[in-house]
């Protein structure tokens, strides 16, 4: 057992028992070995309901040691109720340092965003995943989706994108845009906005995706190719915030929240709260930006 001074002695270090943490870490290693492949794991009970971040907690608590610095973001915010509760829980169970600063953190748990600030090879980002099976929308049976992954049979996924384009004139997937990992498996990047999808590719950081309710772990290891699905003539695009500036910092080039003020008035604020704080207090942090195909042209 890991000896620390402050954490609650009523529970094992990190709440989960050591053998289960070991199993989860082994599943993570398997996920790293086969990028994009969903590895089943035991998904033990946690003191929160499934669907509220249990998968993320399993992965985070299996990784964290007393020397780690933990950060958690919920839709870009460090200060949402869910983020605060999960942070307090992790702090109580592991006695690790917690931070709002992206650059300081060694383990970052996130729901539905990747930080704007570039992550390094000293950091691990853990995604809370509600629905790990990207093919579920086109195939309801689990045994068939497994067979489709095994045989790289992704035609139905492609047809769903084709149908979206035909129906709406654009591929209408705002979050959870399907990506191909390491030129093999198609994977759900969890419901991150399209803005964040290019950040997964060739990153220095280890990305762990954990779905507690669905009992699946998968990963994108550092320096792995992650390509959003796109047709030869219909290219993948990130969200456009053309001419829009953050009402707090006056900065652009970040994923923005649109805030409703009145029928005629909207304002935009940078979604990543730590990124916004850093912009207010100093120079712009290191950031990866991706242009849309027509912008490049």
């Amino acid at each position: 057992m890991i000896e620390t001074k402050k954490f609650s002695r009523s529970y094992n270090y990190g709440f989960i028992d050591e053998s289960t943490k070991k199993e989860i870490r082994r599943k993570m290693l398997k996920a790293v070995a086969i990028p994009g492949y969903q590895v089943p794991y035991s998904s033990p009970e946690m003191p929160i309901s499934r669907g509220w971040g249990t998968g993320g907690l399993h992965a985070s608590l299996s990784l964290i040691g007393p020397q780690d610095t933990f950060k958690i973001i919920d839709q870009g915010s460090d200060a949402s109720v869910n983020a605060c509760n999960l942070r307090n829980f992790v702090k109580r169970m592991t006695d690790c340092e917690t931070t709002f600063d992206t650059a300081e953190a060694t383990v970052i748990q996130t729901r539905h965003r990747i930080t704007e600030e570039v992550l390094t090879d000293k950091q691990i980002i853990v995604f809370q995943v509600p629905q790990p099976e990207i093919l579920r929308g086109v195939e309801r049976y689990e045994f068939k989706t497994r067979q489709m992954h095994a045989e790289a049979d992704y035609a139905k996924m492609w047809v769903s994108l084709y149908e979206s384009y035909v129906k709406f004139g654009a591929i209408m997937r705002g979050a959870g845009y399907p990506v191909k990992v390491n030129k093999r498996y198609i994977m759900s990047p969890s419901p991150i906005p399209r803005w964040d999808v290019p950040n997964l590719s060739a990153s220095d950081t280890l990305h762990i995706f954990s779905a507690g309710r669905e009992k699946r772990i998968y990963a994108v290891p550092p320096h792995t190719a992650v390509e959003p699905l796109e047709f030869e003539d219909i290219k993948f695009k990130v969200e456009e915030f053309l001419g829009i500036r953050c009402s707090v910092t006056g900065e652009g080039d970040a994923f923005m929240d649109e805030i409703y003020e009145s029928e005629d008035s909207r304002k935009h604020v940078i979604n990543d709260s730590n990124f916004l704080d850093k912009l207010r207090g100093g120079p712009r942090p290191n950031q990866r930006l991706f242009a849309n195909p027509q912008d490049e042209a």
Binding site: V138, Q147, A150, E151, A152, D153, A155, K156, W158, V159, S160, Y162, E163, Y165, V166, K167, F231, E232, D233, I234
Partner: protein
């Protein structure tokens, strides 16, 4: 009519069998037309097909007839890899120049062969079409599986195919559930021929359609066969369909071929007792 050049085969089938249930070594020996059943007397295993041998030649249309339960549909499902065969050998000229038994290749390779070299039109359009997708989406699925990822070209190809099969092109983006039975069948045909496969399976394609629609679908198939020179295996219990479409015919009973030959010959001068009964009862 296609001449049978022994070197000109497209599909070669030897000893193909499919047994449901728990077979024993004698299951095949104690079933078949001689015993009047395809159910093994000892284990109740069903011998759906056994000892199926035939060659299909380039550009030929081969008919498969027989009563319900004779193994016709099972045969084409085995050849299209919808089901796994219990034994036998299947060779296809387009795969390793006909030297590889397709029943032994990986599932991924079978899928590739299905998507690139074969097409299938099922009796029930729900088996061949995905009703969640539009008619164009169904055709796109087949093209995407074959590696076409250009939406513009996919839509051009889908429009051309729907036009060829007389489905109104403006309805390309409608769901097949809003189509009539005949139209659904024609969308299925469009999907099946989307990749210009050299081999097409047609499983009771006109069953359940009214007579005028049947005639349209049969005309369409015959026209496509002439235009594209596709080899076909046509399964039907309707001898008039077989007469209209096929060059050669195999008659199946209790999972075995009881007679095979030129269609005209089979229909005008049937040799086997069962074929004589079939011809006399249906004509």
């Amino acid at each position: 009519m296609v001449t049978e050049n022994k070197e000109d085969w497209l599909l070669r089938v030897r000893g193909l069998s499919k047994i449901y249930g728990e077979p024993i070594s004698n299951s095949i020996r104690y079933t078949g037309p001689k015993f009047g059943t395809n159910q093994c007397p000892e284990t109740d295993a069903i011998v759906a097909c056994a000892e199926i041998d035939f060659d299909l030649y380039q550009g030929e249309v081969l008919g498969v007839v027989g009563e319900s339960g004779s193994g016709k549909s099972t045969l084409v499902q085995l050849l299209y890899f919808d089901q796994d065969a219990s034994g036998g050998e299947v060779y296809f000229r387009g795969v390793d120049d006909g030297r590889t038994n397709l029943l032994n290749v990986s599932n991924q390779r079978k899928r590739y062969i299905r998507n690139h070299l074969m097409g299938m039109v099922y009796q029930n359009p729900r088996d061949g079409l995905n009703f969640k997708f539009s008619a164009g989406g169904n055709i796109a699925e087949k093209l995407l599986m074959a590696g076409e990822f250009h939406v513009g070209r996919i839509r051009d190809r889908a429009s051309g195919l729907l036009e060829k099969t007389e489905v109104p092109v403006p309805r390309m983006d409608n769901a097949p559930s809003s189509f009539s039975g005949g139209m659904q069948q024609r969308v299925q045909i469009s999907k099946a021929i989307a990749n210009n496969p050299p081999l097409l399976f047609l499983d009771e394609v006109t069953t359940g359609l009214d007579v005028s629609v049947q005639a349209k679908v049969l005309d369409l198939i015959r026209g496509l066969q002439r235009e594209l020179g596709i080899s076909m295996i046509v399964v039907s219990h309707d001898l008039s369909v077989i007469r209209m479409l096929t060059d050669r015919t195999m008659v199946l009973k209790n999972g075995r071929i009881v007679e095979a030959g030129l269609t005209d010959q089979i229909l005008q001068d049937p040799q086997h007792e069962y074929t004589q009964l079939l011809v006399s009862s249906l004509l």
